[in-house]
């Protein structure tokens, strides 16, 4: 770990002030940042410990939504009674991730900003455009079982590994940020980005900007939803493919369906265009299959991860069925519902 300056401001304003400059990192739970520093992947010159900022509450919003403070631990968020009752999808997605210990330490802001788990990104002896712009992408033509099938570029095929963010994408959350240029609200769909030819940029946060909270609009997806995570062991593994679904079924037809995929792209993968195919349909394997094909249009494998395409297709169909039948996937019983 390299030498760095350390600050522990007590107010958001101070944090923003301290955050101006090159190679500054905010430290939240540290479950990702500290690992990256130890592996010499991230070499901040200044670390700003934000754990004293007053961003650790879950608050009601006007209009019936909730604001999740950036520093609220993932576990506390998942088990919060309001979240459990009004946003069970989010609870479920969080609980599908990591381990209890990690979820206790990890924060909502940190989860949003966690880096990819690409093997090459973590190993400084290997090429990686995300870590070392211009060094090449080791994963292309290499070990890429866990890599992207959608929206990748010839510079980077990494995925965003979060489970929580997949649910946030479906819930149309808004990320609240503040920074040197003031406050901004970024729709979740615009928060993470595709790698393109700037793979080192995971998201649209500007230098020095701090996430203060995540707003959840009032929704009513409390029965017909699911979070289905498919992975290499039954717990404590990142998603090969995960599927978040929120649905409204009225008189036997789908009034609205939102679907996002995790583990397949540099951001949670959602297509409102494709979702229109479900609107007005009776829930059926055919309708779900047609939608899955549309959502996966343009998917390409990289060799070792080719299987993700059929896996995602089957997973989408199954998850839509789970949601439509109001039998969401349990995160404790590992039998697929």
């Amino acid at each position: 770990m390299n030498r760095f300056d350390y600050a522990r401001p007590a107010s958001v304003a101070e944090a923003v002030q301290a955050g101006a400059g090159e190679q500054v990192r905010f430290l939240a739970g540290g479950t990702n940042l500290i690992d990256l520093m130890k592996e010499n992947v991230d070499r901040p010159t200044t670390v700003i410990d934000i754990n004293r900022l007053p961003l650790n509450a879950i608050e009601e919003l006007d209009g019936g939504g909730l604001r999740l403070g950036a520093l609220v631990p993932n576990a506390e968020t998942a088990w919060d009674a309001r979240v459990e009752q009004r946003y069970p999808l989010l609870s479920s997605a969080i609980l599908a991730g990591a381990s209890p210990q990690l979820r206790n330490a990890a924060t909502n802001g940190g989860n949003l900003n966690q880096r990819t788990r690409c093997y090459y990104f973590y190993d400084v002896a290997t090429p990686c455009n995300k870590r070392e712009p211009g060094s090449g992408c080791g994963a292309i033509g290499g070990v890429n079982r866990i890599h992207a099938i959608l929206g990748a570029s010839d510079q980077c095929i990494a995925t965003h590994p979060s489970d929580m963010c997949v649910a946030l994408a479906v819930l149309d959350a808004t990320v609240q940020v503040t920074g040197p240029e003031g406050d901004r609200a970024i729709p979740i769909a615009d928060y993470h980005r595709l790698p393109g030819d700037e793979p080192w940029r995971d998201n649209t946060l500007k230098p020095g900007e701090l996430v203060t909270g995540i707003d959840l609009p009032a929704e009513d997806f409390t029965q017909t939803y699911t979070y289905l995570k498919l992975r290499d062991r039954l717990s404590y593994a990142f998603a090969l493919v995960s599927i978040a679904v929120a649905m409204r079924v009225e008189d036997g037809t789908i009034a609205e369906a939102r679907v996002a995929l995790g583990g397949v792209a540099h951001k949670p993968w959602r297509s409102t265009e494709a979702e229109k195919l479900l609107k007005g349909q009776h829930p059926s394997p055919q309708a779900f299959g047609t939608f899955a094909d549309a959502l996966l249009a343009g998917a390409v494998g990289q060799g070792e991860n080719d299987f993700k395409i059929p896996l995602a297709r089957k997973g989408i169909v199954r998850a839509l069925k789970q949601a439509a039948e109001a039998t969401p996937q349990s995160q404790t019983d590992k039998r697929v519902a």
């Binding site: 093997y119 079982r145 896996l311 590992k334």
Partner: protein, 748 residues
């Protein structure tokens, strides 16, 4: 006279070192507090093969706290013959020498050691060491390497060449039913919980005390003496607690070499530990391809076995395993042939990992056997009984014991095997397909020359000691129980000491010989103490025991008791006081061949197991759950049913990892393992584990080892992955011949 229930061999007691371990007072190699310690961090090669052209240490040396950067250029003198680096395993070739010269032999090879006042400074400085390489063409692709497979001229210790019988080629050609295919196992890394680490205390007289993570303190002592030119008296190696090793600690690992090198050069106490990442820089279970061809009559009687395997080794050593022998030994079949070869890749030398050879060769063979059973339309368990061999069918020798038939019976009954429906895809539970599979496991029942001492003091306290290790296997408890059994003392009055090169000689702990061997040595030493006690009792006024010989007495509740007149009891303390003894100390050596063992000299000695697995597989998505395992084990006498069960549970869980999870991924362009961390190298987690039932089948066997003990450290993993693979076939109708069976291999 009523006595408390005797605790001894066969008593299910808690691990005697359990409290220390769970309360954190048990110190592991890298945890010993030492004053003025320097910390080392290993710099690893980024390329797989070539030369170091230059090393720029300037930035590293400039980091505050850095004391030295040690490379091949400035290291002190070390031995230069291969012989000096050889260890107990005697693997033919030229053992790896850290920091010896500019050669790079594998990726992640240690090439420099940064020494600093803190671990953090060392680690940071290590990241600043700039190395320029001249790369050479390498190959880490085993599938390519097998094109140049060969039979090593020199064999490593423990290697058993397969013996052919009949004419397997002809019999296979003539067989009405045939199965043949290539079966694969990927590289796996041991990944014990505790990472390799060494704390070296440098003493003013130039001697060293080394706290090391190893499976054999005396092996490390010998290695350090011969490599660095210490006299053995000046090197003491301690490993009282070892957080697992699975075979990766059978050979001295490079951190201990580096730590001692630094201590010698700087004349200071040092500590070198590996990170989890660096745990992928050395030993791994060899990758394997096994080509199996089986021929059978329509009745299911095997007529031909052809068993060929190649495993991976490095360019510099021929690591060999017994891969192809198991199937030939276990099955009654008139015609069988086998060939075993190795193939070189540019990695570190592969290594023994829990049940080396058998976990590979028996497991893959048992998948082929399952295929043959389906081909013959015979129940897989019935198939195994049809082809059951009561003798070692390869060597033509009887076993000292083989209760595999009983294991099948008891296991099948506990599992409910008779309710299995024969067809694949014929059982289901909701959206899940259900599959039941079985397999045979086999391992060696070995015995190794071992010494132990026993010291009884007049206050009734007994200390037994032996330089063996306890790598989590329960050696402390085994030694305690054997001593309790022999001298009739309660375990609370006994201390077992191990993990110290100063103690009576013992081999590395591996091969599942530990309990049988150290147990026998402890028993001998305690018996010798018993004889001295009896002699001492003769000095008691009135000689209450009369002319009794050792055969006329037994030891019970701290007393010598006349067998024929159990009311005549002489407390140990009375006997010792009468003879004016404050303590009795004896040392004995148990070597192969004594006791009833000579009768088993020309017999085969093996443990066996019958494993039954139930899986549930989501029909559409291929999500696999192993819902039930029954493992019925025939392993002779069980010293402690509780820790014995734990050994089997651990082996079974590791077998589940082999079946479904474990695989190290190489990038062949870089010649480097890529998933070198616990996030991406998968072993089973709690959610993967359900019901595991362990059964120990009665198997009295006085000939196998003096205590009738066969050992349990390894049998639990052998065949488990086959039972699971076979259950997956039964559930899904999909035969996967390469482990692990991940979701992509099951998906349509």
């Amino acid at each position: 006279m009523a006595t408390a229930a005797k605790i001894g061999i066969g008593s299910a007691i808690n691990r005697v070192d359990g409290v220390e371990k769970v309360t954190g007072t048990a110190r592991y190699a890298a945890e010993h507090p030492v004053e003025n310690l320097l910390y080392g961090y290993i710099v690893e090669a980024a390329i797989a093969k070539g030369r170091i052209v230059s090393i720029d240490e300037e930035a590293a040396r400039a980091v505050p706290g850095v004391v030295e950067v040690i490379t091949h250029l400035n290291r002190p003198h070390v031995a230069w013959t291969d012989h000096s680096y050889q260890d107990e395993l005697k693997i033919p070739g030229s053992p790896f020498r850290p920091l010896y010269d500019d050669r790079i032999q594998f990726s992640q090879q240690p090439i420099a050691l940064v020494m600093a006042e803190t671990f953090e400074a060392a680690r940071y400085a290590a990241s600043l060491v700039e190395v320029a390489y001249e790369a050479e063409a390498h190959n880490t692709d085993f599938e390519v390497a097998v094109g140049e497979k060969y039979v090593p001229k020199k064999k490593r210790s423990g290697y058993m060449a397969p013996k052919d019988r009949g004419d397997a080629a002809q019999a296979f050609a003539d067989a009405p039913l045939k199965v043949s295919g290539d079966y694969r196992l990927p590289p796996e890394h041991h990944n014990p919980m505790e990472m390799f680490g060494s704390t070296v205390e440098w003493h003013d007289d130039g001697s060293i005390t080394v706290h090391d993570k190893t499976q054999g303190s005396q092996v490390v002592q010998g290695y350090l003496a011969s490599v660095f030119g210490f006299s053995k008296k000046k090197v003491r190696v301690l490993n009282p607690y070892v957080g697992g090793a699975f075979g990766s600690g059978l050979r001295p690992q490079h951190q201990v070499f580096l730590a001692v090198l630094a201590a010698k050069m700087l004349e200071r106490s040092v500590r070198v530990t590996m990170t989890r990442n660096q745990m992928f820089s050395h030993a791994y279970r060899p990758q394997a391809i096994q080509s199996i061809a089986l021929g059978a009559e329509t009745t299911g009687k095997l007529t031909a076995i052809r068993n060929e395997a190649t495993t991976s080794t490095s360019r510099y050593e021929d690591n060999m395993e017994n891969v192809v022998t198991w199937g030939l030994m276990n099955y009654d079949c008139p015609n069988a042939d086998a060939e075993y070869t190795v193939a070189q890749v540019d990695t570190a030398t592969s290594a023994d990992m829990r049940a080396p050879g058998a976990a590979t060769g028996m497991t893959l063979f048992e998948i082929a056997i399952d295929e043959m059973a389906y081909e013959a339309k015979v129940d897989p368990l019935e198939f195994r009984l049809i082809n059951y061999s009561p003798i070692d069918a390869m060597n033509g020798t009887p076993y000292t014991s083989k209760a595999l038939r009983e294991a099948f019976q008891e296991g099948a009954e506990a599992f409910g095997w008779s309710k299995r429906s024969a067809e694949a895809r014929s059982m289901r539970d909701g959206k899940e397909l259900v599959g039941w599979g079985c397999a045979t496991g086999m391992w060696d029942a070995q015995f190794s020359k071992t010494s132990a001492s026993a010291k009884l003091t007049a206050n009734g306290h007994l200390e037994v000691a032996c330089a063996t290790s306890d790598i989590g296997t329960g050696s402390y408890t085994v030694m305690t129980l054997v001593a309790a059994d022999t001298l009739g003392l309660p375990p609370e009055q006994i201390t077992a000491k191990l993990g110290d090169s100063d103690l009576p000689t013992a081999p590395v702990e591996g091969g599942s010989w530990g309990a049988a061997s150290s147990g026998a040595a402890v028993q001998l030493a305690c018996q010798a103490v018993g004889k001295k006690l009896l002699k001492a009792a003769g000095k008691i006024a009135g000689a209450p025991l009369g002319e009794a010989t050792i055969d006329d007495v037994l030891f019970e509740d701290g007393c010598i008791v006349l067998k024929d007149a159990p009311t005549v009891r002489v407390p140990f303390g009375d006997a010792m006081r009468a003879a004016d003894l404050t303590q009795i100390e004896e040392e004995e050596t148990a070597a192969p061949g004594f006791g009833d063992m000579w009768k088993g000299m020309h017999k085969s000695k093996n443990t066996h197991s019958a494993i039954f697995a139930e899986v549930k597989v989501d029909e559409e998505l291929g999500v696999i759950r192993v819902t039930r395992i029954v493992d019925a084990v025939a392993a002779g006498r069980i010293i402690n049913p509780k820790t014995a069960r734990s050994q089997i549970l651990g082996g079974v869980v590791m077998g589940m990892g082999m079946a479904l999870h474990e695989e190290t991924f190489p990038d062949h362009r870089l010649g480097r393992w890529m998933n070198h961390n616990f996030g991406e190298y998968h072993v089973p987690v709690h959610a993967d584990i359900h019901d595991i039932q362990v059964i120990f089948v009665d198997e009295p066997d006085p000939e196998v080892t003096p205590l009738g003990v066969k050992g349990l450290g390894e049998i639990g993993i052998v065949g488990t992955a086959a039972a699971i693979a076979n259950a997956i076939y039964h559930a899904t109708g999909k035969r996967v011949r390469s482990l692990p069976i991940t979701i992509d291999k099951i998906l349509d």
